[in-house]
Amino acid sequence: MDNGIRIQGLTKSFPSPRKHEAAHRVLNGLDLTIEDNEFVCVLGPSGCGKSTLLNTLSGLDRDYDGEIRFGGRPMTRAGKPPVRMGYLFQDPRLLPWLSAERNVDFALENSDVPRHRWADIKDHYFQLTGLQAFRRHHPHELSGGMAQRLSLVRALAIEPDVLFMDEPFSGLDELTARRLRVDLLDIWRRTGKTIVFITHNSYEATFLADRVVVLSQGRIRREIPVTVPRPRDYDDPALFAVSKEVSATFIAAAEEAERARSRP
């Protein structure tokens, strides 16, 4: 099945809390096509609408203009989204009264992964994220980074075709983050998912992505393909060169956004 994403003219506004003020337009006619099995990283200054973009793509927020299709199947105003999706939120969003393992079960129970495979899947991802010894711990007994890894386990356990990740590694130490990036690429290569990954870190984006998309003022400002062959080496100068370009675009976008904000 084709799990590419086609976004056309996506426009999203939030009503202003004050009565006579114009609505705040966050996404402004955004066009983006993501291929089936592609790994796309989205960069953009804080508040430019990255999380908003994922909320509309995931079907959490269906109040927008424009069109979103998954392999030709449109996202409708109500009902189940047309693909199986996993979402790693910017915050862990775990159920605090359930143990780590039961949190993952919660996602599995509402998915169509057959029950006899749950044990293997959980073993696999708990092992991978180094949480094996913490399966019976409750979220408040985990560190911030561990909680974030747990929500990664939860997102992966349901074997989604499309995976949305909102700055998933930003709260982790660099060593753990590096390990998890490699693992993520490995999972992606073996299971063939379409991944939309949001980050502030241009080197992370370059290392992971087939294509880096820089978002600014509700639109795509620039798309930068990363052609460095895989598997990639963290210290590859070719990656570094692309990352510098990404960085420069990102900074230009941020400055532009700032200028637009200070304009009356």
Partner: protein, 247 residues
């Protein structure tokens, strides 16, 4: 625990000390009170009064929760319900409990139903307010999480909303009990021929302070037992997942 025992002993000593300053008809000492209480037990009708009162406390509490919880939750999750109901909850809270008791006994009659209705309706507004505040604090981001993972509306209510509301329900149970038992005594003296409230009023009219204190002591001990031993343990067991708060 040691502090609690210590403060209780201190209170007993203070009571003992004060009882020497006043005549027995005004403030009998602890030993006399306990002796009277023991005599009452020996005479036998103490249990029937106590169970009558506890039955009303229970009935009133169930009614108060049955009315207060749905109203409070509805006000917490629905803005229209909040705007319509908040003034009425305030009105219901402001009406003195004595008025509820009088209305109930006049409209329904001098019977058990009227007593329980009076108790339940008096306490319901406080419980509603408690839950209303609580439900406003729940984490709506968890509902988004559940929706992304394809949870149905029913699953979300049962597994994401309910566990978040439960601590507030438990808190309002304890808090409601505190209100209900005070009102029960009042309602009993007004319109029931038995129960702790009736006995208190009876001995008050006879000017027998020993009996008044004996009944007060009995009732307080029973309620403290329910509150501290039963409810706190239940709560501790239910919310063992929570981090312990130490200040």
């Amino acid at each position: 625990m040691l502090i609690k025992v210590g403060s209780m002993i201190a209170a007993l000593l203070a009571w003992l000390g004060l009882s020497f300053l006043f005549p027995e008809t005004v403030l009998p000492g602890p030993w006399q009170t306990i002796r009277v209480l023991a005599e009452n037990f020996a005479n036998g009708d103490i249990l029937s009064h106590l169970t009558a009162t506890l039955g009303r406390v229970l009935g009133g509490l169930v009614l108060a929760m049955a009315v207060g919880i749905p109203v409070g939750v509805l006000m917490g999750v629905n803005r229209l319900a909040e705007k319509t109901l908040d003034v009425w909850v305030m009105v219901a809270l402001t009406v003195p409990s004595l008025c509820y008791a009088i209305f109930a006994f006049i409209w329904i009659g001098l019977n058990e139903t009227a007593a329980i209705v009076a108790i339940g309706l008096t306490s319901a507004p406080s419980i509603a307010i408690n839950l209303w505040e609580g439900v406003k604090n729940i984490d709506t981001r968890l509902f988004q999480m559940a929706r992304v993972f394809n949870a149905s509306r029913w699953v979300i209510i049962r597994r994401v909303l309910f566990p978040q509301v439960l601590p507030y329900i438990m808190a309002s149970l304890r808090f409601g009990l505190g209100i209900v038992w005070k009102i029960t005594v009042l309602v009993e003296l007004l319109g029931r021929p038995d129960g702790v409230g009736f006995e208190l009023f009876y001995w008050y009219q006879l000017g027998n302070m020993q009996q008044v204190l004996a009944w007060t002591l009995l009732f307080t001990l029973v309620m403290l037992f329910i509150e501290l031993v039963i409810l706190q343990n239940l709560e501790r067991r239910m919310f063992s997942w929570r981090p312990e708060v130490r200040i």
